[in-house]
Structures are given as C-alpha cells and as structure tokens.
C-alpha cells in the first residue's frame, strides 16, 4: 500500500428509507402517473433504485391546475413574511436531512459523496435560506414598489446537480409569490421526490409545489401548457432554443440557463500550483457535468509544458470509483447515453489531430465511467474546442498575448463562464472587462453562492439565477406588464409550428 492508497470508506446507503415506487407529487400528495413508469438506476453500478411514475399530458394538466388553484386561493393571499417562514422551514429540513439527501444524490447521479455532501446539499439549504429572507422584502429588490408575482412557473431542470438546480428554481419562485410545477431530469428524479417529502414535513400548502417526473415529452407538455405564466429551463442549448421558439408570442416570461464552453485562462504570472488545482476543479468537478466547466484551458505559451506536465501528475493522483466512498474524487458518468457522447467527441478530438492523454486508473466493471482525459495542442476549429462535451475532458490551447487570450476565449457562441489566473490584479480586471461571459472566476473556479447571480451571455441563455437579480426572473417588471401576446388560439398554432 503506497501513500496514495486508502482503505475504502463508503457512506452507507442504509440511511435512506426509499420506497419501491414513487408517484407524481401533485397537490400535496403522491399520485399515480398516467404514462409508462420507468426505473431510475445508479450509474455507478447500473443497479435499480426505484420505479418512477411518468407524467403524461393529462397529469401535466392536473398539476398545472393544482398550481393555479394554490396560487389563486392560498399562496397569493399569504403575506411575504409567511411565505418566507415556509422557505426557512424548508432550509432547516434540508439541513436536518442533509446526509440522507447527499447519499441519495450520489447514488442516483453518480457524483462523489464529498461533492454532494460538501457542495450540493449545503448550497441547497443556503439557497432556500437566502431567498426565504427576500419574501417579505421584495419592495427592496429594485423592481419598484410591491412587484407582482407572475403566477404559475413551469420549471425543467437537468441531471448534473439535481437537487441544487431544484433549489435554484423553487426558492426564488416561491419567495416572489409564484407557485411551481417542476420536472426533474429523467435519470435523476430521486432527490426531487425526497424533497417532496420534505415539503410535506414543512406543511407547505398543497399545490404550491408540484413535481412531475418524466422525460422530454413531459417537459415539453409542461412548458407549452397554456396556463403557465413563467418558464425556467436549465439544460442544453438545443432544447433551450426549442423552448424559446415554442413560447414566442405567448407572453410567458422565459429564463434559460444553457450550455457553455468556458475558457480557463492561465497567464505566465499565475500562481501555478493554485492554477493547477483550479484547472482540475474547473473541468473534473462533478465529472465535468457542469455547464460552466472550464473545458478550454488557454495557457500562455511559455508555461504550456510546465502546466500540462503538472496537470498530468495531479490527475494521476485522482481516485475514480464508488461515488459513496468519501475518498472518491471522480464518480460515475450519469448515463450510458452521456458516456457515449463523451466517447464519441473524444474520438473525434483524436481524429482531428489533438494529442490525447488519459489518466491511468482502474475502471470499475459495472457502471458508466470515463477516466480524466486531456487533449493537448487542440486547434480552435476542432470540435472538442467548440462543442460542449459535458464530461471529464479538457482541451488545451495556447496563447501569447492577453489580446489573443481574450479573442480565443470569446470565440464561441456560448458565454456562460470564464476563469482567469494571474497574480496581477490590474490584468485580471482588464481581461475580465473584455470577456463575454456571465460569471468570471479570478484565481478560483466553480464557486457558487445564493447571493451571486449566475447566467450566460449569447447562446448560453438569458436571465440570472441567484442574488437580487434572480428575483427579477420571477417578478413582473414594467416590460412584462406591457408585453404583447397573441390570442390563445393563435398560440396553439405556433406551438404546433415549432414543435413538429
């Protein structure tokens, strides 16, 4: 046993009391779905976890009606202070059941327990706690006196941070006075269903939050439902674009948090050890299943070799394996489909002439795994420099001057995040000014906080989540009040036109 080896230290799943089957959470109760149920599996073992209900269009109708009723009769009549108290309760319940939620998340998603335990779940509690305090202070949100809620919010979230994305969506929506119908991702419904139990414990009025499990067609039925006032989506740019089209002319307020291909820029005056840690955190955090991942490393030419060598050495020490083991750095890829996409794009990277290096680590027999991989000498035109891989794959490019770094960093249709590494503050601020990205991390990466707005430029979407800005997505501004919409009959034709 050398110093890098550890005895296994797995977190026990016995803390979980899972049901064999989960229904849809509508109007405060778990009910049967009318679509064909599906199984959720653990991506690290491919083992069955539970049977999950599948919501069809009829279930969507029932859930939206429940949310509308709850909005009209209950939630819009409550004081901001009382809405806030419910959110505070939820924050506390999440803290109380934190370990359970972390284990469930790692089991269902495949992410290492140290991330679900130390990042995802604490941020979930923080998000509810932060927005709880806003509920009775909306007059101070900078949107005028007594800004009005929108009504029923349809929210569709991805599989990479299942419970955290739920918190990002539900907390500000409820604080602002909206009711919610939320659809978690098909491969990661588990923690949303545990969260539904938390809502029951919190005695949140029935119908204020409804959770519908299902696949893409459930999501499409939800965002295109005529009685929805707000649509919030986090996921791929392709789906985001389809939603922007299908909601056009409907007057639904839309916020989109989509893909990214972030540049992580390392200047030769950067603290190299910290930069290497930051690069690793930037792309290998959560197996690279992060929309704001630093997937393009732009390193100044004169330190290129040194940085890449150190990076390889560091990656060789990362432990890949059981997500529930506290020593694990790299967990499982979330699904076979995603693994296939990562493999395909990596093969394309190799075929397009980049130098591939993969950390030498044992891959477990079952489950979906991809060892940390670096592509060096990647050209700007290569697909692995342009397309979102959403996996533990880093593309390395070089630059000589700050101007070249900026131009390469901005050379993408995306604009979600970026990183800058330098010991010179004035250089960092000047470069940050020029980058077209919504979140810029200087000498750090992948930091999140409920007080800090998050969201993209260009094709990474629009609207912000987090902070005071995150409230604007769920409240009426003077522009929403004067927005044009087409009559309902015309909307149906539009929906048909763009969804066919």
């Amino acid at each position: 046993m050398n110093f890098l080896e550890y005895a296994p230290a797995p977190e026990s799943p016995s803390i979980l009391h899972l049901r064999k089957e989960y229904g849809l959470f509508i109007d405060g109760e778990f009910v049967k779905g009318h679509g064909k149920p599906f199984a959720t599996i653990s991506p690290s073992s491919e083992k069955h976890i539970a049977q999950i209900a599948n919501a069809n269009a009829k279930d969507v109708d029932v859930a939206v009606a429940a949310a509308r009723r709850a909005y009209d009769r209950t939630w819009s009549k409550l004081s901001g202070a009382d809405r806030g108290k419910f959110l505070f309760r939820i924050a506390r319940l999440v803290q109380e059941r934190a370990r359970e939620l972390a284990v469930a998340e790692s089991l269902d998603n495949g992410k290492p327990i140290k991330e679900s335990r130390d990042v995802d779940v604490p941020l979930v509690a923080a998000w509810f706690f932060y927005y709880a305090g806003w509920a009775d202070k909306l007059d101070y949100a900078g949107l005028g006196a007594s800004p009005a809620a929108l009504g029923v919010a349809a929210q569709v979230i991805p599989w990479n941070f299942p419970l955290l994305m739920l918190a990002w969506k539900i907390a500000p929506a409820l604080a602002a006075g909206n009711t919610v119908v939320l659809k978690p991702a098909e491969t990661t419904p588990l923690t949303a269903l545990l969260f539904a139990e938390i809502l029951q414990q919190a005695e949140l009025p029935a119908g204020v939050v409804n959770i519908l499990t299902g696949a893409g067609d459930t999501g499409a039925a939800l965002v295109n439902h005529p009685d929805v006032n707000k649509v919030a989506f986090t996921g791929s740019t392709a789906v985001g674009r389809a939603i922007a089209k299908s909601t056009a002319g409907t007057g639904k307020k839309l916020t989109l948090e989509l893909g990214g291909k972030a540049a992580n820029i390392v200047f030769d005056d950067a603290p190299i050890d910290q930069a290497v840690e930051g690069i690793v955190n930037g792309i290998f955090f959560n197996q690279g299943h992060v929309c704001c991942a630093g997937s393009r490393l732009l390193v100044q030419e004169n330190i290129h070799e040194e940085v890449v060598d150190r990076l390889k050495r560091r990656l060789s020490t990362l432990r890949l394996g059981d997500p529930l083991d506290k020593n694990t750095d790299i967990g499982a890829i979330n699904s076979r489909e995603q693994l296939d996409r990562i493999r395909e794009l990596s093969d394309i990277g190799e075929a397009e002439g980049a130098d591939r290096w993969t950390a030498d680590c044992a891959i477990p027999e079952n489950g979906f795994w991809f060892a940390p991989t670096i592509f060096d000498n990647v050209s700007t035109s290569s697909r692995i420099a342009r397309e979102e891989i959403f996996g533990p794959v880093l593309s390395v490019l070089t630059f000589r001057t700050p101007a070249e770094a900026i131009s390469k960093a901005n050379n993408t249709p995306y604009g979600l995040s970026a990183g800058i590494w330098s010991d010179k503050g004035s250089k960092i601020l000047a470069v940050a000014d020029q980058l077209k990205a919504g979140v810029i991390w200087a000498n750090t990466f992948n930091r999140f906080d409920p007080a800090s707005p998050f969201g993209g430029y260009k094709e990474s979407g629009y609207g912000r989540e987090g902070g005071r800005h995150g409230l604007a997505a769920y409240l009426q501004t003077s522009i929403d009040a004067g927005a044009s919409r087409t009559p309902v009959a015309a909307r149906t034709t539009i929906t048909k036109k763009v969804t066919k």
Partner: protein
C-alpha cells in the same frame, strides 16, 4: 417672384455616412392628405446587413467609452435637436398630418427623452449592478454590460418620439443599433441622422434604415451577428415569426408595445448582460 426652395434628398444612415439604398430603390413619402413630400430610400437586405457590419464595428469603441462620455454625447443630441426644433416640428406636422403645435410638443418630448436617458449613462451600472456578500473569502461584483448589436423596429406612429424612445435606452449603455424607421413617416428619422452625424455620436453606433419593416425585419431577426431584437413598432407585422426566428441564436427580444414606450430603466436593463466577477481575497 418668391425664392424656389431647395428640397432635401433623403437617404439611409449607415456607419456614419448617408448612402442611397444599394438596391437603387426608393418609395414615395406623402403628407397625410396624399401630397408628395419626398422619395425615401427603400432599404434592402444588403443594406440591413451592411448596417449590422457597421454596428458591430462600432461596438468596441462605444462600449469602451466612459459612461460620462456617452452621457455627454446623448445630451449633445438633445442640444442639437433643440436647435433644429422648428425644422422637425414642420416635418412631423406635414408627414403625420397633425397640427404644428402638436408636432412641436412631440419634438419637445423627444428632446426630453434624450436628456432623461443621457443622465443614466453613468448611473445604470450603480442601480442595476450589485456587490454580493458571498459566504467565503471572495470579492464578488455584478455589473450590467451592453449586450452588443440591437436591431429595432421603431414605433410606426409618433415618428420622432417613437424612434428616440427606442434608440436612446439601447445606446446609452454602449449597445449599437440598427433601427428601421416608421414606414409612412420616415423623414424625421433621416433628419435625426443629420443631428446624430454632428453630435459626436461615432459612426456606426446608430444606423437608420427606411423602407418596409415587413421586408427588412426578418433579415435582422435572423442575423447571427445581432444580439437583441426590439419589436416595439412591430405590432402589425408577423412579430411572433420574428421572435421565433430570433430564437435561433437566442437573441434577447422585447415584444411590441402599443404607442410609444415610456422612458424606463427596465428598457435600459433589457439589453444588458449581468457579468459577475469573483476574485479571491488572500488570507492574511
């Protein structure tokens, strides 16, 4: 014998210059009663694309200017507009068929809109931005920035006030614009271009096209180098199709408004992007 007047040739305004439409097309602009006023240029797809190129080229300089500087430029527009008050009032009265007094009030309002927005240039960042108290040793600041190139369909009525009410909120932050003027009353838009050309507004920051919005707007809505689309005056167009087309590159879109949009900070913020910068604080 009275003096024979020298009528003006109305052209487009692209990149700080006054070209005719590359298509060679014009259309007749008449008074409300149908009398001939002028031939306006009828902009083509190529003109629209040229205008986008000019607008994109002007982004870096205009965005890079200080808020104080942009504010002064916008205020300068108000000064020069004031100086040509009578000309604009006359032009509006004849093309919109309203009284000279009503036209004069519209010019007054248009001037005041410039002054109102001018004052925002060095303040909107303070009001729409935020310092964020994150849980950790980080300096964290959110600031709004201009989104880039904004394509605008100007309100069809109140030709000058409508135009000014959509251009000013977009350019005050550092965006550049391509705007399609009122189809039936385009003359004051081109006269405004003469004011812009002499108000220290850098060429390309505001580009004005005259012609058919129904013909030009689809090319702007689908243009991949346009960041945002203001459909303020598109109420009578197939604007939902324009919004759908804009979604291909996820443009920020404002839907049509009835009449003239009131001055508001929301219109300014609508075409900005919030950038949040995290910077580590060292442990001492």
């Amino acid at each position: 014998m009275s003096r024979l007047a020298v009528p003006k040739t109305y052209k487009l305004y692209i990149g700080g210059k006054f070209p005719r439409s590359e298509s060679g097309r014009t259309y007749e602009v008449a008074t409300a009663k149908g009398a001939f006023l002028a031939n306006a240029a009828k902009a083509s797809r190529k003109d629209a694309r040229d205008a986008v190129v000019a607008a994109r080229a002007a982004v870096a300089g205009w965005t890079g200017a200080t808020g104080y500087n942009r504010g002064q430029v916008l205020y300068r527009i108000a000064e020069l507009l004031e100086g040509r008050h009578a000309q604009f009032a006359g032009e509006i009265a004849s093309s919109e068929g309203i009284s000279l007094a009503a036209a004069a009030r519209e010019v007054d309002a248009a001037i005041d809109v410039w002054v109102w927005y001018a004052g925002w240039a060095d303040k909107y960042v303070q009001v729409a931005g935020n310092g964020n108290p994150v849980s950790g040793p980080y300096f964290n600041l959110s600031t709004p920035e201009p989104t880039g190139v904004v394509a605008i369909v100007a309100p069809q009525a109140s030709s000058l006030l409508g135009l000014v009410s959509v251009i000013a909120p977009a350019v005050v932050t550092g965006n550049t614009v391509v705007v399609v003027a009122s189809e039936t009353a385009p003359l004051s838009a081109i006269s405004l271009a003469e004011v812009l050309a002499t108000s220290d507004v850098p060429g390309g920051v505001i580009n004005i096209l005259t012609g058919s919005p129904a013909e030009i707007a689809p090319w702007l809505a689908s243009h991949a180098d346009v960041n945002a689309l203001d459909l303020a005056g598109a109420e009578r167009l197939d604007w939902v199709d324009l919004q759908i087309s804009a979604a291909d590159t996820l443009k920020r879109v404002l839907t049509p408004v009835t009449g003239v949009p009131a001055p508001s900070l929301d219109r300014i913020v609508a075409f900005t992007e919030t950038k949040t910068v995290w910077h580590t604080k060292s442990l001492i």
